[in-house]
Symmetry: C2
Subunit: 161 residues, 2 copies
């Protein structure tokens, strides 16, 4: 294992039969990671993994809505939800729904922890209504896509430091 940020892979676990937990360390201070994850102009640079991302809405506050549309070679994919809780720079709780399975809603609780060396640990726990929905997400290729997004985030963070 190297300490190069580019080699980081998210650790994905299933703490219960309706949850997915993701843990990933970023080589940037918490305030910088927070900004990269909540400023729509910066989110647009990494969330789509290199694909064009149109952020139609992103009201980062309790009750606010978000909607991202990714334009990939395979097609157009919309994602949306609503913010339940926003506590800078440490915690965001929001719902997540993909247009391809409308009305199937997960609740994502993302927590940022400041580590020594100016690094930050992200822990994101997604809770689904059913185990079937959770398993559908696990088998959707989300892990590969997420690691691509996080690698793109690494590159954006390097320019912000």
């Amino acid at each position: 294992m190297t300490t190069s940020a580019a080699s980081e892979t998210a650790v994905v676990t299933t703490p219960s039969d309706r949850e997915i937990r993701v843990e990933r360390i970023f080589a940037a201070p918490r305030e910088v990671v927070w900004r990269a994850m909540t400023d729509p102009a910066i989110v647009a640079q990494w969330w789509g993994r290199g694909n064009k991302l149109v952020i139609e809405r992103d009201e980062v506050e309790r009750g606010g809505h978000w909607r991202y549309v990714e334009h990939s070679p395979e097609g157009v994919h919309g994602f949306e939800g609503r913010y339940r809780e926003v506590v800078p720079p440490e915690r965001v709780v929001r719902t997540f729904e993909w247009d391809g399975m409308p009305g199937h809603v997960a609740v994502e609780t993302a927590t940022l922890e400041a580590l020594d060396g100016g690094r930050t640990r992200l822990v994101s726990v997604s809770l689904f209504h059913t185990t079937m929905e959770r398993d559908g997400m696990l088998h959707s290729g989300m892990e590969g896509g997420m690691n691509q997004s996080f690698a793109a985030l690494d590159r954006v963070l390097a320019t912000m430091a």
Copy 2:
């Protein structure tokens, strides 16, 4: 027990620790009840229990969004969600969220069954992410409000028959 529609009370049960089940019989044929529950112009006449209801969106199809805003003497309350499944005249699955608890989402599965005598049975099962959210809904006064809405729906159905 009388057979007067005005005396009907919904039967509310909790089939699991994350669900609320509501059963209610209406004195109108299934196609009429379906229309009263899915035509926004008619929904506006009963859903608000006599309060003004502004239907900002109601796209009754898979993936469509809905948003109702009730203007009551106590204040303005917004409700919204997204349609997962629409099968006329028997089944609607949609999400339900109240602005007062944004990001807390229940999935409502409403089924209409045609009964003899031109009557219809509605069974609606709401699934929550947690027991706490389910209990919060149970203790919110939803049962009284719902019975008021259903009584208003009875009156609307009588004019449609």
